[in-house]
């Protein structure tokens, strides 16, 4: 039985990774699960310099979901390389480094730094974080800027580039095509959805940042549709994500056209989820008599 998949030059032993920002830098979960059983470890977004992040409250639980406005707190490229890379490079599975910047040039500089580091599995370009004033979503919702970011990174690295798409566009097809045309090797679909919650007693927003990004099981059907639409528009592989809690959810993403999946918010409450998804996909394939996980990809019927 083959569970391995290719994301550009990146080979994953199984189609399951974790969503950036929900798994820290891997090391935090090393005591709770065997990271080497994952398809890849995807780390939290890194820009050139350290980022302090937003004031608190930063997250709020809502029905079947979570709204977050962390603000991409992180150690910057140097801090990441010093604090986290020594552990990550000992893993047998690849590390996908999620990167971002406030200018096209910064994206390219961060990409160049990670290219020079050696040993990185792939770069995921975060052009879709809704919680920072500069950078993030502005690049993912402007088709020209999106193409510029991808092209600028493409020029400085031969690492596989995965563009993490914003869901906040009228039609994801042209955006997916723009990323593909600019040299992206794959797409991650989707990031969080802009959202808000208000405390009715204090009449104040529940997040200090006022708005945040909605994730968790409540967004899954929207994410499935976005994957399905993007898969029709591009030839490059898609990593599907949005509310995956179990292997049934994961297989649904594969059917919609995703080649791999990422477990996100579920890591916060059930750290074993990604490994349970791997086991569940294997069980599904056995039950359905499938020999290769790629047989599932995009095989939705009547759609």
């Amino acid at each position: 039985m083959n569970l391995s998949v290719q994301i550009g030059k990146l080979r994953m032993q199984n189609p399951v990774t974790v969503a950036s920002g929900t798994f820290g830098y891997g090391v935090e979960y090393a005591q709770l699960l065997d990271l080497n059983q994952l398809g890849a470890v995807t780390v939290k977004g890194i820009r050139l310099n350290p980022v302090r992040g937003n004031p608190t409250p930063r997250t709020v639980e809502v029905a079947s979901g979570l709204i977050n406005a962390i603000g991409l707190q992180g150690p910057g490229v140097d801090g990441f390389i010093e604090k986290y890379w020594p552990f990550l490079k000992t893993l047998k599975v690849p590390t996908i480094v999620n990167i971002w910047g406030t200018t096209v040039e910064e994206y390219a500089e961060v990409a160049r730094r990670f290219d020079a580091l050696g040993g990185v599995g792939a770069l995921e370009l975060n052009v879709s974080c809704p919680n920072i004033k500069e950078g993030g979503a502005q690049f993912g919702t402007d088709v020209k800027l999106l193409a510029q970011v991808v092209a600028a990174c493409r020029r400085v690295t031969s690492l596989p580039l995965i563009t993490k798409m914003s869901p906040n566009v009228p039609n994801i097809g042209p955006y997916a095509q723009a990323a593909e045309d600019a040299g992206s090797d794959a797409l991650s679909i989707t990031n969080s959805f802009p959202a808000m919650a208000i405390d009715i007693e204090t009449r104040r927003p529940k997040l200090a940042n006022v708005t945040g990004g909605l994730t968790g099981p409540c967004i899954k059907p929207i994410a499935i549709k976005l994957v399905w639409e993007a898969a029709k528009a591009v030839k490059i592989p898609i990593i599907g994500m949005g509310g995956i809690q179990n292997s049934t959810d994961a297989v649904e993403f594969l059917l919609a056209g995703a080649t791999a999946v990422a477990v996100g918010t579920a890591n916060f409450y059930e750290p074993q989820t990604a490994l349970q998804v791997v086991a569940g996909i294997r069980e599904f394939m056995q039950r359905r008599g499938l020999r290769d996980v790629r047989e599932i990809v995009g095989s939705v019927r009547g759609a």
Partner: protein
Amino acid sequence: MLEQTVPIVSNERDTDRYFRLVVRAPQIALLVQPGQFAHLRILSLKDALLRRPFSIFQVAGETFSILYKAVGKGTDALSRMRPGEELSVIGPLGHGFTVPKPGGETPLLVAGGYGMAAMYLLAQRSPQKGLVFVGGRRRADILCEQEFRALGWEIRVTTEDGSHGEKGLVTQPLLAELRRGTVGRKLFACGPTPMLKAVGQFADEFNVPAELSMDEHMCCGVGVCLTCVIPVKVGESWEYQRTCTEGPVFDSRRIVWETAN
């Protein structure tokens, strides 16, 4: 840190809306340090996804317990659970209190409401007995008083309505005690943020070291989501540190109150 599905041994009402939950978790119980917490997932809650963090109250053989107040969806569901039912637990988590060394400083514990729960193991494991200051709104908010007395600790109770102990805030008898100027003492506190802030100010004013267990809204509990951060001094500047990982217990001198919510 371990993740285990563990059975409930007992889950009984203490006073009012407060409950005591005991679970059998031998491997976790063995590792617990004072001031650490357990992150509980109530499997029957379908649309409330997240785990809930609780200070570990007592450890006895193969079990540990928590003392909680039923205040919301999660704790209400927890209060309805019966012996034999199971919970998913990640624990023990966080950086707890520094247990005083033999012959070292005399501990002064300051607790508000169920903050008492986080202090029991510290009192039990401290080689020196000290003083406990506990405050609450009313009598029902004063928890495990007898258990601290049974450890041989002196306890000073305050309630805002005067229904038990001295009427007023927990900081009043604490201030009176600190004004006596006895040397060789250290403050340990757990409770609402305004109380912790007041204890931090006393620590500065009287030049007494203080460890504060910070109460910040938590999500993952293991350091990845960066929800539970507070501003902490680092050199000349400050950074957001995680209550679940660098904390919940911090040296009061490192906390930046001006930017704290």
